[in-house]
């Protein structure tokens, strides 16, 4: 029975993970957090996460280029790390995103992406 805490613990087990959180992207609020955050500030990281997701979802045309197309994840690459944002699709009304911050050297983007997909699905699948 993976709960929210459990999901974040497993996210931290991804090679190179520095921090993880689940963020409500309508309000930019970190629903749950673990590990470190950029600038030691989970609240600011959540607000930034929300801005990025909203920009991708509402202000860009490629998300809705094909009927029933859906935003799945976003990857921001910096010199020092990867910031992975995976949307958590719940049946009930929510706007949640799983955020993992990876170290650039230790992290493996493909592995992390795959693991996050599984985590986000397991979190809400029966």
């Amino acid at each position: 029975m993976p709960g929210v805490e459990n999901c974040l613990q497993e996210a931290m087990a991804i090679p190179g993970a520095i921090g993880a959180s689940i963020v409500d992207y309508t309000t930019g609020f970190p629903v749950a957090t673990t590990g470190a955050a950029p600038n030691e500030d989970h609240d600011a990281a959540a607000a930034g996460t929300a801005d990025v997701v909203q920009a991708a979802q509402s202000r860009s045309l490629f998300v809705s280029a094909v009927p029933h197309d859906l935003l799945e994840d976003l990857i921001i690459t910096t010199a020092g790390g990867y910031h992975l944002l995976r949307l958590v699709q719940t049946d009930f009304d929510s706007r949640l995103v799983l955020y993992v911050w990876l170290d650039r050297i230790r992290g493996n983007l493909a592995v992390a992406r795959r693991r996050m997909q599984i985590l986000a699905e397991e979190l809400v699948a029966t």
Binding site: M1, V4, T27, V31, T90, F92, E122, L123, V124
Partner: protein, 335 residues
């Protein structure tokens, strides 16, 4: 129970949390709400303006109404509704936690945002959902304040949050771009429904609904309530859905037979009946017509509210007249 006093709900929550109390902080007023604490930690919150866990799960089709009702029937008295849903495999732990967290922060915004309101603390009261999550009260109050600020950054007109939503008849520009959520709101705004009504109807978070409505107002796609108030002496159309099942049902007054229907009543000279009007007494014999305005919107399969179920045999004379007036008021508002 201590008598109700007027205070800042957020401050009282902090105080109750500091004393590690268990119970329910009941905030009166409109929309009001209740925040539940166990040993000083917030476990749940509910408000008339925010759909609860049950509404969110059934309106989205995640749970069938009868599944939810069965869990309520079995778990309400033992405060284990959440536990039962998990044990029966209807929901995963993650889903339920996320749903409860979302509903709690949503309702807490409405309960805690008034600067001052009548507040009660019910010692020892617990919610029928049972403890699913525990949240730091300081985080809840901080988030409620932050959300109020976010709304004002979008479009600083708080009167939009409670007034009936009226789409403008014609967009102010040639071309508008709206999101799916905004479309849904505009399609369901019938000139009578308040943001709280729309949130309940669509099973969407109350705060997210208000956020989209403020954005729509900023785009000029829904009317500002202030503009409407000036040109009419009509009664206020602000209407909240009635209180739903709560563990601590202290806000709902006992309904006496003399109570009128909960619709705005026009106190002006009565218009002369038009020739096409149906005769009054004929409509009075129809029980459906009698009770229509008094029923809050319910989920399919949900039980009738107690007070309605109890007095189905009772006739309120003149209800059809009130209903007609209400329709007239609604039409006028649409003009």
């Amino acid at each position: 129970m201590k008598p109700s006093k007027t205070a800042a709900p957020g401050r009282l929550l902090t105080q109750a949390a500091g004393e590690r109390q268990t119970g329910a902080l009941v905030v009166g007023g409109h929309p009001g709400g209740t925040v539940y604490l166990i040993e000083g930690q917030v476990t749940y919150a509910e408000s008339a303006a925010a759909p609860g866990v049950g509404e969110l799960l059934t309106a989205s089709g995640r749970l069938a109404a009868r599944t939810w009702q069965a869990a309520l029937d079995a778990g309400t008295s033992r405060a284990q509704v959440g536990r039962i849903l998990l044990d029966h495999g209807h929901l995963t732990q993650g889903e339920l936690e996320l749903c409860v967290l979302g509903a709690t922060y949503d309702a807490a915004y409405f309960a805690l945002s008034p600067a001052s309101a009548p507040v009660d603390f019910l010692d020892g009261a617990t919610h029928w959902l049972g403890p699913i999550v525990r949240v730091d009260p300081a985080a809840v109050t901080r988030e409620a304040r932050r959300r109020a600020r976010l709304l004002d950054e979008i479009y600083p007109h708080p009167q939009l949050d409670t007034a009936a939503v009226i789409p403008v008849p014609r967009p102010p520009v040639e071309r508008v771009t709206i999101t799916a959520a905004q479309w849904e709101l505009l399609v369901h705004a019938d000139g009578q429904r308040t943001p709280a009504d729309l949130a309940q109807l669509l099973g969407r978070a109350g705060y997210a609904t208000i956020q989209e409505l403020r954005r729509l107002a900023a785009l000029g796609l829904i009317e500002l309530p202030a503009a409407r108030e000036r040109d009419s002496d009509n009664p206020d159309l602000v209407r909240l859905p009635r209180a739903r099942g709560t563990a601590v049902d202290v806000r709902r007054p006992a309904l006496s037979p003399g109570d009128g229907p909960t619709v705005p009543i026009v106190t002006g000279p009565r218009p002369a009946p038009a020739s096409g009007d149906p005769p009054g007494p004929a409509a009075e014999t129809d029980p459906a017509t009698m009770h229509a305005p008094r029923l809050a919107r319910r989920k399919p399969g949900a039980k009738l509210p107690k007070e309605v179920a109890a007095d189905t045999g009772q006739m309120h004379t003149g209800t059809d007249e009130v209903l007609l007036k209400r329709i007239r008021t609604a039409l006028r508002a649409l003009r």
